[in-house]
């Protein structure tokens, strides 16, 4: 690798670290604020899986699109939803990215190429085919990425979406975040074939298993898949093996998995994996930047007004 490439590479790792840290610290902060009663509703958090969102979204342009799930905070921050507006949305404030109407499970912002997240498991898997179809019909070189969990692969929507994307050769990157569990259910209990990547083959879709704890590995796999889609090569499925460090939702005692398993995965924390490629000073600087961004976001959210109740009646129809 020549000096230029090495520099580029270093910048990329820094950028990835910054995103992963932003998501991690955001989620940890949000959890505290939720426990303290500042954030209403419920939470499905993303700690542990940050490398997937950060790696994939680092290969997308702002005019590329993503769909997301009930666990969307990481996808939103990675795709570039404004951190303060994301936080305000969790607070249910008027300044939130969805004006307080979406909430945690529907974070998103079309301005940066993210549909409000879809909280129906695999719900995004049919919608994304429409994004891909629009791109194809318009002969644009945009790409759509669809995030979904391994649990979603047992929904009919997974099947219909993949098959249609193959038949129409849509510019879609299917990103499965296989974190081993769907709510309390281990994937091994609901699928005899452990690798989701296998499932892509019967649609004629190329697939790849990726280390979902390593943002650089995710980025590399995603870059190739995005490039392939952008050039008219059709869909790819990436199965990112990952782990959520938290419960399924905020009230989950995680009795269905062992602390040992959790500790094993904790060793592969995406922050550790990336930090190993950076020096301490850089990490400290990036963390400080992230902290400042989050302080600002919480301030912004706190100081934002509630939505005017009258707006509850707006935006049903145009």
């Amino acid at each position: 690798m020549d000096a230029g490439a090495a520099h580029l590479q270093l910048e990329t790792v820094q950028e990835l670290y910054r995103k992963v840290a932003l998501i991690r610290r955001f989620e940890d902060r949000v959890y505290r604020l939720f426990l303290e009663g500042e954030i209403p509703g419920t939470l499905h958090q993303y700690q542990g899986q940050e490398a997937v969102a950060a790696g994939v979204c680092s290969t997308l342009r702002i005019d590329d699109w993503i769909t997301s799930t009930h666990r969307p905070h990481g996808h939103a921050l990675a795709k570039g939803v404004n951190t303060s507006e994301a936080m305000a949305e969790l607070y249910g404030k008027a300044t939130g990215c969805c004006g307080g109407k979406g909430g945690s499970m529907h974070l998103g912002d079309p301005a940066v190429g993210m549909l409000p997240a879809i909280a129906i498991v695999a719900g995004g898997n049919t919608i994304v085919t429409g994004l891909g179809l629009a791109m194809k019909l318009r002969k644009s070189d945009q790409v759509a990425a669809c995030f979904f969990g391994e649990g979603a692969t047992n929904e009919g929507a997974f099947h219909e979406g993949l098959n249609f994307s193959a038949v129409e050769q849509l510019p879609i990157v299917w990103v499965c975040e296989n974190n081993l569990y769907g709510a309390s259910t281990p994937y091994g209990r609901v699928s005899l074939v452990p690798d989701v990547a296998e499932r892509a083959k019967v649609y004629g879709i190329p697939s790849q298993i990726v280390d979902g704890m390593d943002a650089v590995a995710v980025r590399e796999a995603s870059a190739a898949a995005v490039e392939h889609a952008r050039n008219g090569g059709g869909p790819t499925l990436l199965e990112c093996k990952t782990y959520r460090f938290t419960g399924h939702s905020r009230s989950d005692a995680r009795g269905y998995r062992t602390r040992e398993e959790e500790q094993e995965w904790a060793k592969r924390d995406p922050l550790i994996v990336l930090a190993a490629r950076l020096d301490e000073a850089t990490v400290a600087r990036l963390e400080a930047e992230v902290k400042a961004e989050l302080d600002e976001a919480v301030e912004f959210a706190r100081n934002s007004p509630d939505p005017d109740p009258a707006t509850a009646l707006e935006h049903v129809y145009a």
Binding site: L115, I120, G123, T129, G130, L131, M135, N163
Partner: protein, 344 residues
């Protein structure tokens, strides 16, 4: 005004829809078609032939034949609409809408709201309804499920003029619109089954739209207001003719749009006539007639001189045998007798 346009051609609903689709595709390159068996060479042009000839003009890129995957049909239409395209999706029979309820009810209908108004979903879904001796899974009229979904618009045209006009309005509407058409009203084939009425209507050559949300008074009258769609509308019109012999003048209204409902036209009529009968081929309990009755019972109670009557398909799945189907469908004779009792 569309009514003033010179209109000398008579078209069937199928012809009018085809023309409307073609005009919108010419007008706007973002309009495209998606569905099962709609454009296959040598195929049917859709289950009721509405798309015949369109691939020749527009090619297969804008006429997308899908796998048998209703979730994808609705989901892809919704997704493409979210990026601003104008899909016209096709459901071969409206009974299959139950295979893509999530995409319609949870996604297409709610996306604008969930996004705080940032995302539009200008999609159209066409779905044929009506009993035609095909049994329980090919004869439903599921309009009423969808009037209950905030975010969706629901229309149900009954003649060629309004079918074309409202389809074109639907394509240009920034909201998801479901168009329910009755199988027996598409064209000449249905004529006999629908009671021999003329199913063509004058359709102007000029570009026009008919507004979503506007009812049409098909026949003025002073004694009773009758609200009906599709085949039931023609039965109501025939009943109205019969009843003139009794000295009863029915005001027959085609609501055309079921959501948002043109309550003003209905209220105005009921305030004049003092009586309301609603007729639909959808089953009775929880049908859209209940909503109309409830609105009138709230807003026009003091004007009512008689109970509000609903005549609908009986609350059973569609049977296959002709005698059974006839037994459960709302019949002209029932309309006549109900109105006689109301007014008498």
């Amino acid at each position: 005004m569309p009514e003033a346009a010179v209109a000398t051609r008579r078209l069937t609903i199928a012809e009018a829809l085809r023309e409307g689709i073609a005009e919108e595709m010419r007008r706007d390159p973002e309009v495209f078609l998606i569905g099962e068996d709609i454009g296959v060479e040598g195929g049917f042009g859709g289950a009721f032939g509405v798309y015949l000839g369109l691939p020749e003009e527009f090619g297969h890129e804008r006429i997308i034949d899908t796998p048998i995957s209703e979730k994808v049909i609705a989901g892809a239409a919704a997704g493409a609409a979210m990026l601003g395209m104008k899909p016209i999706a096709d459901m071969q029979y409206s009974d299959f809408l139950f295979e893509c309820m999530d995409e319609l009810v949870n996604q297409a209908a709610k996306m604008r709201y969930m996004s705080g108004g940032k995302v539009s979903v200008p999609m159209v879904m066409r779905a044929p309804v009506g009993m035609t001796l095909r049994g329980a899974q090919h004869g439903q009229c599921p309009e009423s499920y969808f009037i209950h979904v905030p975010g969706l618009k629901v229309v149900a045209p009954s003649d060629a003029y309004h079918a074309k006009g409202i389809l074109k309005a639907a394509v240009r509407d920034p909201n998801p619109v479901l168009i329910f058409e009755h199988k027996l009203l598409y064209g000449s084939k249905g004529r006999e089954a629908a009671g021999g009425m003329d199913l063509t209507a004058e359709v102007p050559e000029e570009d026009y739209t008919f507004p979503i949300g506007q009812a049409v008074i098909k026949r003025a009258g002073s004694d009773v207001t009758v609200v009906a769609t599709h085949v039931s509308l023609y039965r109501a019109l025939a009943a109205a003719e019969t009843l003139t012999a009794d000295g009863i003048e029915c005001e027959v209204i085609d609501p055309l749009t079921l959501q948002p409902f043109d309550t003003e036209t209905i209220f105005g009529s009921v305030r004049r006539t003092g009586r309301l009968v609603i007729v639909h081929e959808d089953t009775l309990t929880g049908g859209w007639g209940a909503e109309v009755a409830a609105c009138v019972a709230d807003e026009c109670l003091d004007y009512l001189e008689a109970p509000i009557k609903r005549i609908a398909t009986l609350d059973v799945p569609a049977p296959a045998a002709p005698v059974l189907e006839q037994r459960i469908l709302p019949q002209e004779q029932t309309i006549v007798e109900t109105i006689r009792r109301l007014v008498g």
